[in-house]
């Protein structure tokens, strides 16, 4: 509370850059009165409304769920909506676009390479039983323990903060990066999935986890508490065991039996028929 009371004015230093109009980026400084509970995103919105109407950034949900507002704030990749001014410990807020990506404009990074790598690693359930995948007849059974093996990795919101913090991704664009690798592990670790062999065609090559130095910055900056560094080490272990033919092959989860002896309560309608 002491820090909040001491803040009366916030100085925003914002990196502005329009590749179509500017040869190089420049820093702009604006001052705003501090208001209680102000986040970096609140400040940017206030600036856009008042003194910098052309300022560009991405944001949507304002509650750390959509992953749109990843920015480089005071030397660290963070979500602007999730970052209180008071937690920065200073009234000077330096905002730049996420590093390791090209800049489209001002605070808008070009995340296409990240999503290309994400897509290449097939971040979805892959199974052989196409009929069941197309027209499901039930739910695949999964124990609480099996769920825990990938649950934390499924909290990823693809904001790109881990990619911006990764020292390997900074120098080697062929490296897939922490987010796509973590999502690939999330599905490899899912007992409903049978796509390890398909994903291995990418993972076993140059784009795989081999360049990771375990710097751990990805895990430190993740706003959702995901641990990509752990996922990458677990993935390395799986791939080594696979090469040595020691990886435990598992059958993908079967359809769980419907609970017996349970009667639908009156007034609860049947689920709608599948639309695909």
């Amino acid at each position: 509370m002491a820090a909040t009371n001491a803040l009366s004015e916030v100085v925003f230093r914002i990196r502005r850059f329009d590749p179509a109009a500017n040869a190089s980026p420049r820093w702009e400084e604006h001052r705003l009165p501090y208001t209680l509970g102000m986040t970096v995103l609140d400040g940017l919105k206030k600036l856009k409304e008042t003194v910098a109407p052309g300022l560009a950034w991405r944001s949507s949900c304002r509650m750390g769920v959509c992953g749109s507002c990843g920015m480089f704030i005071n030397g660290r990749a963070r979500l602007a909506c999730n970052t209180q001014i008071t937690e920065l410990g200073t009234n000077v807020v330096m905002v730049a676009p996420l590093p390791n990506f090209d800049t489209i404009r001002d605070l808008v990074p070009d995340l296409v390479p990240m999503f290309d790598a994400h897509q290449a690693l097939m971040p979805y359930i892959i199974r052989g039983d196409h009929d069941e995948m197309t027209l499901p007849t039930g739910e695949f059974g999964q124990s609480a323990h099996e769920l825990e093996q990938f649950l934390q990795f499924s909290y990823c919101i693809r904001c790109g903060c881990c990619m911006a913090a990764c020292p390997t991704y900074a120098t080697d664009p062929r490296y897939s990066g922490p987010m796509p690798l973590t999502q690939s592990h999330r599905y490899n670790a899912d007992t409903r999935d049978d796509g390890f062999t398909a994903r291995r065609t990418v993972l076993a090559g140059e784009a795989g986890p081999w360049r990771c130095h375990y710097a751990g910055e990805c895990s430190r900056v993740c706003p959702k508490g995901v641990d990509p560094a752990k996922a990458i080490q677990l993935m390395k272990r799986e791939l080594v065991l696979d090469y040595l033919r020691l990886r435990r092959e598992r059958c993908p989860a079967e359809i769980a039996a419907r609970p017996a002896g349970i009667k639908r309560r009156d007034g609860i309608p049947e689920a709608p028929k599948p639309t695909i």
């Binding site: 120098t171 076993a204 795989g208 360049r211 080594v240 090469y243 040595l244």
Partner: protein
């Protein structure tokens, strides 16, 4: 597939180094406490102990294995560092070939040295 194979060998070489460097430490540096490998009352680098090890087939094999593991582990690590400078595809291939040639050459030289000292000391 190639990177998966190289990484697995890198990890395997690390394990070999760990075992044989442990053996090296035990023989050369802490045997005064252990008293297992060298003649009583002598130092590990005394001529008699050096000859004993050189004419032992077990040590000859471990020298060669340690050499091979250390060369692969070190040169693969160096290759990774160089690749992080983001060279072009041609330069990458050239570096891989160069490091392989250097590794095989040094391994051949070291193996010859271990074999030669094995033969010489057996003849003493």
């Amino acid at each position: 597939m190639r990177d998966q194979r190289l990484w697995t060998w890198h990890v395997g070489a690390g394990v070999v180094i760990l075992v044989f460097l442990g053996l090296h430490m035990a023989i050369m540096h802490i045997d005064t406490v252990l008293g297992l490998f060298n003649r009583p009352g002598t130092e590990a680098i005394d001529w008699s102990n050096v000859v004993d090890r050189a004419k032992s087939a077990f040590f000859m094999v471990t020298y060669v294995m340690l050499l091979g593991a250390a060369l692969f582990h070190g040169l693969y690590g160096l290759r990774n560092i160089l690749f992080e400078l983001n060279p072009g595809a041609g330069l990458k291939k050239g570096l891989s070939v160069l490091l392989t040639v250097v590794g095989v050459g040094l391994f051949g030289l070291g193996t010859w040295a271990a074999w030669a000292s094995f033969g010489l000391t057996r003849a003493l």
